[in-house]
């Protein structure tokens, strides 16, 4: 199983029927492909859609039915559309149960940096700052390292997206949460040891006596 599939499958297990969920671009988008059987959630696209469905079949795209990347999507029965003020009211107003975003770095307390690399990549924060500040639960989907360097670090060297700590980080190696603002190992991926995770993590990691394995 490749890294992206491990991450997406594990995050899909966090979804519960009835949740309103926003998925970011990249790995987070893949989460929708692994919705557990019987679980029905509302996916939001922050450009103004709740009830986002899968990518349309060839030739069935509609020019005004798109996701936050401007790509064609479908709308499930019961979907609704609204303007950007309502869309961010859902996000900031405590109505969004979960957001899944990509990450560049997460610090030891769970604070995320994911919107710019000064001097190199300045795409703009889009909706990321509102999503991390406002969602009830924030889940980061990212590879554990980038070019061999840990992405879970003591202090973020990149500008923060929000000072609000994320709830869960899921990588191809581990699941990490942040109780009492301390990075804590929750699960390891199949075939990955605790030592492997610690070696690839710069932030000090709290390791409980028993660490479960991801059930994917």
């Amino acid at each position: 199983m490749d890294a992206q599939t491990i991450i997406a499958k594990r995050i899909a297990q966090e979804l519960r029927t009835g949740m309103l969920v926003n998925l970011g671009i990249g790995i987070p988008t893949l989460v929708a492909n692994y919705l557990p059987p019987g679980v029905n959630v509302f996916f939001q696209s922050e450009n103004g859609l709740v009830g986002t469905g899968p990518v349309p079949e060839e030739g069935m795209a509609h020019p005004t039915l798109t996701d936050a990347g401007g790509q064609p999507v479908t709308a499930l029965p019961g979907a609704c559309t609204f303007d950007s003020a309502v869309s961010f009211g859902l996000i900031r107003g405590g109505h969004l149960d979960m957001t899944v975003l990509g990450g560049l770095q997460v610090d030891k307390q769970g604070r995320l940096a994911n919107w710019m690399i000064p001097g190199k990549m300045v795409p703009g924060m889009g909706g990321a700052m509102d999503l991390v500040s406002g969602a009830k639960r924030v889940v980061v989907a990212m590879q554990h390292t980038a070019k061999g360097k840990p992405k879970i670090v003591k202090e973020c060297s990149l500008p923060l997206t929000s000072v609000r700590p994320v709830d869960l980080v899921v990588t191809e190696l581990a699941v990490i949460s942040f109780p009492d603002n301390r990075a804590t190992l929750v699960e390891t991926a199949p075939g990955v040891s605790v030592a492997d995770v610690v070696k690839n993590t710069e932030a000090e990691l709290v390791v409980p006596p028993q660490v479960a394995q991801m059930a994917i």
Partner: protein, 215 residues
Amino acid sequence: MKTIALDQAVAMIPDGASLMIGGFMGVGTPERLVDELVRQGKRDLTVIANDTAKPGVGIGKLVNAKSLRKAIVSHIGLNPETQKQMMAGTTNVELVPQGTLIERIRAGGFGLGGILTPTGVGTVVEEGKRRIDVDGRSYLLETALRADFALVHAFLADYLGNLSYALTARNFNPVIAMAADTVVVTAEHIVPVGLIAPDHVVTPAPIVDYLVTNT
């Protein structure tokens, strides 16, 4: 509300004007108005919008034509040309969190001086802004935004200027329609009064100044 030909609508817009333009990655952007701005060679525009789309699409066309002095947007990640002009210093790009941007515009249109938002507290977005605590929680004071013109794209416009929108082409359009001195609208279809049911009108006719005729 007056009806107006496309070229005359754009001729009203002087160089250096501030424009709010609807659309999200080009979806719901009044493309005909954008094309005409480029054709008439407008310069030094300030554009307030969600994003600058992609090269050759929506607001991306204004970027390609170097029509912009300033862009106040939330995202330029899919337009390398905007990033290039920002790095080169030829276009001033102010990046604003998307939810903050739309609320600043809403405030401008709703008679408010600004809004208090938790988004951006403790980040680079806070620089130069007032932090205000309310009931133990910290917020940033984000000031209202208005523009000289709003360029709006609707799905239906009736002969009076009532507007409704299609699916994800709604986005910033009804909000910017409230926040500019002059509101110029293009619509997919111009329809008789009454065809848009009162409950389905999103933008009320009295705030629309000009409806661009379809050809």
